[in-house]
């Protein structure tokens, strides 16, 4: 008899569902949308099988899903949900409101292109739609990271210094539907890690009634928005402390970003999501040929860790930023952020965009990118894999 492996073969969607089951939230309002579906399908099966006590609320739209999620979190229930693309677009009005109400909802996002034309495959345009909402935004490279970040997310969202909703992005299909070996924690360990959810002034505490979501006049709106800004600025510090704790628990190290062979790099790539793994492969192959290339894989996009990123890239003469979304009419979003973070530094930056609507980003594409990076004159965004 062969031994069962210590690693479980799970799709990214299934890995997220396992994390949700282990967290065992009180409420999970959700509306199905591709490619988020494997998350809710697997999790609903687990609830039906009695493996979680969660109340799944089948709502009539994503707008309702986020309305129910924010309300449930404020009522005193630990609340998670999941969506993708058009679903996020439809809920975005309430996505803003959830943050402003300081509802610590955790949402997995199977990152998918926005219409149109309609497309169900991976890119980051849906997440970019929500970048200014006040949510914390994290991106996973693979199924393992999606699982781990889902376990970190409630602690971050509910932290008294943060109290903000958190989005965990995993690339649609590329990660949500791709089966990979995942190391899982035991249920008891996870339960001890997430602990009990306690909202300081829950709506259901009728002995101490509160009002949430009041009208804000010009005399207070500005201050309330500034509070959000301040709360987001506290996130990197809280995340760092949580990651230390999580490393003790799991043996896996996390941080706002991961540097890969960056120490002596002369050319580096900044990227988020599943393309980071492909980039590591490209970098290893180029390193074998003596090329000094490296990677900065960003996990935390909101708040944007500008100062830390600037320090990490300070010694690199040439940096490429590969976006999986466009900001039509301007530079792509991640590039614009990195550019602002590195303002005044001698590093030469180049914007790339690729992988839109599920267009493959091959190892060879990234090797070519590194190959041309040092020689390129300063210029506009270059497009990886675009046919024209």
């Amino acid at each position: 008899m062969l031994e069962a492996p210590a690693l479980s073969l799970l799709t990214g969607g299934e890995a997220v569902a396992v994390a949700v089951r282990q967290i065992d939230p009180d409420v999970f309002p959700v509306y199905p949308i591709t490619p988020q579906t494997p998350i809710i399908q697997s999790f609903a099966q687990m609830v039906a099988d009695g493996q979680a006590r969660t109340e799944i609320i089948n709502v009539e739209s994503e707008h309702s899903a986020m309305s129910a999620a924010a309300a449930a979190a404020l009522a005193g229930a630990r609340t998670l949900t999941a969506t993708s693309s058009q679903g996020l677009a439809l809920m975005v009005e309430v996505v803003y409101i959830a943050a402003s109400l300081r509802a610590p909802v955790v949402m997995a996002v199977g990152n998918r292109a926005l219409s149109g034309p309609i497309n169900i495959h991976a890119d980051h345009s849906d997440a970019m739609l929500a970048r200014d909402t006040g949510w914390v935004q994290l991106f996973a490279e693979n199924a393992q990271e999606a699982y781990d970040l889902m376990l970190l997310a409630p602690r971050l969202a509910e932290h008294p210094e943060v109290r903000l909703p958190v989005m965990v992005g995993l690339d649609g299909f590329t990660i949500t539907h791709s089966a990979e070996p995942v190391a899982l924690l035991g249920d008891a360990k996870v339960q001890a890690w997430v602990g009990e959810y306690r909202h300081p002034y829950p709506l259901l505490d009728t002995a101490n009634p509160v009002t949430v979501g009041p009208f804000a006049m010009p005399d207070s709106y500005f201050e309330l928005r500034y509070q959000l800004q301040e709360a987001l600025e506290r996130v990197p510090g809280v995340l760092e402390a949580l990651c230390r704790g999580y490393a003790r628990l799991s043996g896996r190290e996390y941080a706002a970003f991961e540097s890969y062979r960056l120490e002596d790099a002369e050319r580096a790539l900044v990227v988020m999501g599943s393309a980071a793994g492909t980039a590591k492969e490209a970098i290893d192959r180029l390193r074998e040929q003596g090329e000094k290339v490296g990677l900065l894989k960003l996990r935390l996009f909101r708040p944007f860790p500008a100062q830390a990123l600037r320090e990490a890239l300070a010694h690199v003469p040439h940096v490429a930023v590969l976006d999986r979304a466009l900001s039509l009419g301007s530079f792509p979003p991640l590039y614009a952020e990195v550019c602002a973070a590195l303002y005044g530094s001698p590093t030469r930056l180049q914007s790339y965009a690729g992988g839109l609507g599920g267009r493959e980003i091959y190892t060879e594409d990234l090797m070519r990118l590194f190959g041309e990076l040092a020689e390129l004159p300063a210029g506009p965004t270059r497009y990886v894999g675009l046919r024209r």
């Binding site: 492996p5 690339d171 539907h177 089966a179 990979e180 590591k280």
Partner: protein, 303 residues
Amino acid sequence: MREIRWHGRGGQGAKSMSQVLAEAWLRQGRWVQAFPEYGPERSGAPVTAYTRADARPIRIHHAVRNPDAVVVLDPSLLGEVPVTAGLRPGGFVLVNSPESASSLAERLPGVRVLRVDGSALARTAGGNYANVVLLGAVAGVLGEPALEALQQAFAATFAKLSPEAVAVNFKALEAGYRAALEEAERPGPGAVQAAPTPREDLPGAVVLAQDAPHPRTGGWRTGLKPAVRLEACVNCLLCWVYCPDAAILTENQAFVGFDYQHCKGCELCVKACPTAAIEMVPEGLELVGQGQLTPRTQGGRHA
């Protein structure tokens, strides 16, 4: 790294087999990946899936471009999908077919073709699913993963199956694993996968009728096809309006039957017909003309 590409039709288990193979390799200490490529998601539509295995963690996240092996679960895909595209030198295409390897090789020039009659072997084992036989066969040719790992991976993946069903599938796996595969190769150019290019003169994702790809959606049918009793047809052409694949054939504006190359068996015409003139019949049933249960009568409504 080993890279395997699976071709099947929705419902034939290409995705499941890609995962069982990965699970088996994982049980032998390999790092793995298994993932499908999604097009139209419905039973009968062509599906592609991939399995990767390596001695070290697999980090790349893109489709397999140059597979070591290609497994074709449904021989009807050969004319529809470029199954040999990108095959690595020294690689092979394993086809589930009752047809001889040499005649398959005529249709798949330039590659090493292996064939196994998976459907027949599955029936002998007492089951219906050729996919398990093909899974066993591809592992048999590659020499890994071991049969025992495959069987355990199968049982773990389909944990809800009855012990009897598991036993049947174990037999089918073994039959495939030990099968003597017929082999043939014909010289010729390999297949290339052409990508569509959107028209620049028509911004806004506009598709002209003559530019529309016309996939043979007839292959999506799973056992039933529509047929018409023409004497009941009042020629309202509602079926023509509703058919999503333009598979309703007319002559002089009169309904005459079906284009089975493109009829995907969705049954919308059956639902749309106000006189219940259309019904679904078994695929093998002999029909008159282009799908008539009864021939057009002289001087009838269609005259």
